[in-house]
């Protein structure tokens, strides 16, 4: 028993070191912009850069739209599959996993081919159109996380009985989804939303190939022209991602309790 614990600790320490050492090295490197001193100069340089504000603001907005569109697509889809078309579930799960199998570069080339200026729907012809295409691309990219989170949330409640209970009292489908189902899976929905947000905020491939001024593109450009700022940006990106993950943990504490107490 004691030997088992020792090995568990060794595995834990090796694993932790694998993740922590590069991170600590990046943090230390980002603080060495001023010779012989540790300083936040790299962070100051990045945070006061107008390009940082513009690209981060753009990616933030695109992320928010992605989350909203993603929810509008996945919540009713997962609800209807669970309630009315359970036989379609394996197919829908396969479709939602496709963005994990198909590389983003292939996806975005497909989109450009489908929606270029000579197509029926020339989304790439205008900046707004390309933004819409980027949001829809990100919705597809976040689908595996968003759909799975929503579907897992629906597994924790008795969707059919709650739907029937609300229906018999006169409620319509929209009311049931917005007032009964969604509030009861809100934690799962927010988990999916934060995961999608964390993925989208620093995404490079799609934004770059669609020529949009995103935070990921900015990160890449700074990376090839400066030395300390990219490290500072990497640490900031880590902090944003961890912040999103931390929010998931925090929100899970407020999950509605549905357990039935015994008499």
């Amino acid at each position: 028993m004691k030997q088992n614990r020792t090995w568990a600790w060794i595995v834990f320490i090796v694993g932790a070191a694998y993740f922590i050492i590069p991170l600590v090295a990046t943090v230390v490197f980002s603080l060495r912009m001023r010779r012989d001193y540790l300083s936040f100069d790299a962070y100051t340089s990045v945070l006061f850069d107008k390009q940082f504000h513009a690209t981060f603001g753009y990616s933030l907005l695109i992320s928010l739209f992605t989350v909203v569109v993603g929810l509008i697509v996945t919540v009713p889809a997962a609800y209807l599959v669970r309630l009315r078309l359970p036989q379609l579930r394996p197919f829908v799960e396969f479709v939602t996993l496709l963005p994990l199998i198909i590389p983003p570069i292939i996806l975005v080339y497909g989109y450009i081919k489908m929606y270029n200026t000579s197509s029926v729907l020339p989304l790439t012809g205008t900046a707004i159109g390309t933004d819409i295409l980027l949001i829809l691309s990100y919705v597809a990219l976040g689908l595996p996380y968003m759909y799975r989170a929503v579907d897992t949330g629906m597994r924790t409640i008795d969707v059919q009985t709650l739907t029937e209970a609300a229906t018999i009292m006169g409620a319509r489908q929209f009311t049931i989804i917005t007032q009964i189902i969604l509030p009861n899976i809100m934690i799962a929905v927010l988990s999916g939303a934060f995961l999608t947000f964390a993925i989208v905020i620093g995404e490079f491939t799609m934004a770059s190939l669609l020529g949009r001024p995103s935070f990921g593109v900015y990160l890449q450009r700074i990376g090839i022209s400066k030395s300390y700022e990219p490290a500072a940006l990497a640490v900031i990106s880590f902090a944003i991602t961890w912040g999103a993950m931390g929010m998931i943990q925090l929100l899970s504490r407020f999950a509605p309790r549905t357990a039935v107490r015994n008499n």
Binding site: M169, G170, N184, P256, R257, V260, N262
Partner: protein, 355 residues
């Protein structure tokens, strides 16, 4: 039939090739408490769900107060329903749960609040409005579910095995409460259960169902004492079945393990030499302690089960074994295992069931 509030007319329901409801015709009166009783898979819940509108019948019609509602969606039927799994909305407190139906119907806040208070008093939970479902016991949750179902003043109440998830003690007290509330409101109620004691104790009438068909529809007294089919007789209560041979069809005399008895209920078509199945309830049979009825049979005690107020004995007559219930009497102890006894019963208590 013409006064019936709820009519179930020639309803059939098939799921692919499996026909689960086979031409059911029923009519319930206004304000009546009717139980659909039967084993799992007999079609009772499917009928309830067809009344609610959650299932479409393959054929037939549902008529409420003279209006055909077969094609009406469930949210327009104005029916209240209580589910086995409570189905309270976890994100809403008790008051919001109860007021949900009224809110959907567009009732003003003041009216909703007043009705919610009234409902909380009715179910004996005043002051519980701000609590959430997870803070309540199973029995309390089911009472809230009942209040939620009746708050919008539905035309009918459907109860889908609402007591199954509760423990025995709560089940008994809650079924009495449900019945009292139903009587007070005078609301037509359809109650689905597989528990015969539950159905017998609270129903005005019971529909005994088996394999998608109605076996018998009658009052608890009729169902228990005058079962019309073998299934109704065996499913509801305990029943003795004795194999007997007709020794003289003209005098309706049979032989039970070599002992003769006259059975008035012997059907006219029974011929001398036929084997018939005689049935009787355990409480119809007693020990012949000095007093005897029409039929007296000799046997040997093979089992004595002391159940408190009642003692259940099993007496071997030969090939047949008869169970009988006798009240506990502290002045006379029950017979012992292996003791020779005489059992007695009235010929009129014996039923000869159709196969």
């Amino acid at each position: 039939m013409t006064d019936a509030f709820l009519k179930i007319e020639a309803i059939t329901k098939s799921f692919k090739d499996n026909q689960v409801v086979k031409g059911v015709d029923l009519a319930f009166n206004k304000g009546e408490f009717v139980s659909l009783l039967g084993p799992s898979g007999c079609g009772k819940t499917t009928i309830l769900r067809i009344i609610a509108g959650f299932e479409r019948p393959t054929s037939g019609a549902i008529v409420v107060d003279g209006k055909d509602i077969t094609d009406l969606p469930p949210n327009q039927r104005k029916i209240g329903m209580v589910f086995q799994a409570y189905a309270l909305f976890p994100n809403m407190n008790v008051a919001d749960n109860i007021g949900f139906g009224l809110k959907i119907a567009g009732a003003p806040r003041q009216e909703r609040d007043a009705r919610t208070e009234e409902m909380l008093k009715l179910i004996g939970l005043p002051g519980y409005g701000k609590r959430f479902p997870f803070e309540l016991s199973g029995g309390q949750q089911q009472r809230v579910a009942l209040a939620r179902a009746i708050a919008p003043r539905p035309s009918m109440l459907l109860l889908d095995e609402p007591l199954s998830a509760l423990d025995a003690k709560i089940r008994v007290s809650l079924r009495e409460e449900i019945r009292a509330i139903q009587r007070e409101l005078g609301i037509t109620t359809v109650f689905v259960t597989h528990d015969q004691e539950e159905a017998l104790s609270i129903s005005d009438r019971i529909v005994v169902m088996n394999a998608g068909k109605v076996e018998q529809f009658g009052t608890p007294f009729e169902i228990y004492n005058k079962p019309q089919t073998r299934f109704a007789a065996t499913f509801v209560g305990t029943l003795n079945t004795l194999d007997a041979k007709v020794v003289d069809a003209a005098t309706k005399t049979v032989s039970i393990d070599g002992q003769t008895a006259a059975i008035p209920a012997l059907p006219a078509r029974a011929k001398t030499g036929d084997t018939v199945a005689l049935t009787m309830r355990p409480e119809a049979v007693s020990l012949a302690n000095g007093t005897t009825k029409d039929i007296t049979l000799d046997g040997t005690v093979t089992e004595v089960a002391f159940l408190g107020a009642v003692i259940r004995l099993k007496v071997k007559l030969g090939e047949n074994i008869v169970a009988l219930d006798t009240f506990n009497d502290q002045r006379s102890p029950p017979p012992k295992y292996g003791e020779a006894v005489k059992v007695t019963l009235s010929g009129s208590d014996v039923l000869v069931l159709e196969a």
